[in-house]
């Protein structure tokens, strides 16, 4: 018998998760969880629906320092939020590739991160934008960078009895910008063969988040300035940024193709991000 809990308080939610242990799953959008249950890939039999909890962090709070996102904030809400679009354009571009409109109306940003698919589309831009997560349990809260949070395929720091209650995105420094690119087998809704988000910092430094090219989403950075008008220096930066990628061959693409297109897409994303920088705010 699958147990279904619909707690109204954070404390009750954490209790249900703690009691359920390894067989318990928080449920928000369910867009991944239900697929896993259907195929019996996921053996969860305690479902803790967070949508009725009243004292979790708000879906979204914008401050001068950045944005805080709660566990029930959906992709659909995210893609139309004006501040997110202005501050984190790569995140909106990425979120728009997550499933269809109907999926995005249900899927949550935090849930997508917790699912820790190596190909999760929103992970690369969140990594680029320096996202941090707050992991809560009955014992209290701890925080981690998203880069630390991802451990491996579908494995994160969030263990049994724990719940990610908040995701923080710092406000980007003036003069920085981001962009997202991905490659799929068809133009319509598809899982990424390769995805990449790039950020260009105020000093011209580069940061890259990558999906589907390793056992987990990857983040690397090179300090600035990188002269993007010079092919050789951009190439050197790409060598440095992309060395961590270890894609595999699967039904979506071969290792070789992924490596080659990762470079192409990263370059495109870097240049697109650079194009987005406001020249009045650039440091150099």
């Amino acid at each position: 018998m699958t147990e279904y809990h619909r707690p109204t308080s954070r404390a009750d939610a954490l209790t249900a998760l703690a009691e359920g242990g390894a067989r318990a799953r928080p449920l928000v959008g369910g867009t991944d969880l239900l697929v896993g249950l259907r195929h019996h890939h996921d053996v969860a039999d305690v479902l803790v629906d967070l949508k009725g909890v009243t004292d979790l962090p708000e879906p979204i709070v914008v401050t001068d320092d950045g944005v805080r996102i709660g566990p029930t904030y959906t992709m659909g809400e995210l893609v139309s939020h004006p501040v997110i679009g202005e501050w984190y354009p790569a995140l909106v571009e990425a979120a728009l590739t997550v499933g269809s409109v109907a999926i995005r109306n249900r899927a949550s940003l935090v849930g997508n991160s917790c699912n820790a698919s190596p190909a999760a589309d929103t992970a690369p831009p969140l990594l680029v934008h320096g996202a941090r997560v707050t992991i809560s349990s009955q014992d209290g809260d701890r925080t981690a960078s998203l880069d630390e949070f991802f451990l491996g395929p579908r494995r994160t720091l969030c263990g049994p009895g724990e719940l990610v209650t908040r995701l923080d995105l710092p406000r980007p420094a003036p003069g920085s910008a981001s962009a997202f690119r991905r490659l799929t087998r068809r133009r319509g809704v598809d899982l990424a063969t390769v995805s990449v988000a790039a950020g260009v910092g105020p000093d011209g430094g580069l940061v890259v988040g990558m999906g589907a090219v390793g056992p987990r989403p990857l983040r690397t950075a090179v300090p600035g300035p990188v002269d993007l008008t010079d092919d050789a220096s951009l190439d050197r930066a790409l060598d440095e940024l992309l060395g961590v990628a270890t894609p595999i061959t699967d039904v979506r693409g071969s290792r070789e193709y992924r490596l080659a297109t990762l470079r192409v897409l990263t370059k495109r994303a870097v240049l697109a991000a650079a194009d987005r920088r406001d020249p009045r705010e650039m440091a150099s």
């Binding site: 018998m1 699958t2 147990e3 279904y4 619909r6 449920l27 959008g29 369910g30 867009t31 239900l34 697929v35 249950l37 259907r38 195929h39 019996h40 053996v43 039999d45 479902l47 629906d49 949508k51 659909g76 499933g99 269809s100 409109v101 109907a102 999926i103 109306n105 249900r106 319509g188 809704v189």
Partner: protein, 170 residues
Amino acid sequence: MTSTARVPDHLDDDGLQTVTLTVNGSERTVAVPTHRTLLDGLRDEVGLPGTKSCCAEGECGACTVLLDGKSVNSCLVLCVEAEGHQVTTVEGLSDDGLTDLQEEFLNAGAVQCGFCIPGQVVSAEYLLRTNPEPDEVQIREALSGNLCRCAGYQRIVRAVQATAARRSER
């Protein structure tokens, strides 16, 4: 080699959950096991088979319904999650006869086998409610989660455009 699998233990009837939801404006109460999807609940328990099942994993859009006014894949929602919520299915888009959108589907030649059409109509209705004058690119984007193997895609785009035009004349 032997193939076996875990036998789920959710088969006893006392595991049924009572769910009260509003479907197409009327309150309905059903008793379902936790793992029952909203799709199956609507079709089998509520008795509204207009919503279709194909992939059962969020990839085809045949099962699209409005949940509190937003389009969702009902195969990816549990019935129990819909407790207290409003669901609109294809049957509930109009009280009587076809909607303008449904008429334009017919007019445009968008309806072939018809199996995907309830989902297409619901997705298109959601689009027009949220963006009354979509351009062609936006229509394609908004409906790209709804597969049509008869591939009436261009016809459906025309139907949505015609409906938008009709509604803007009103």
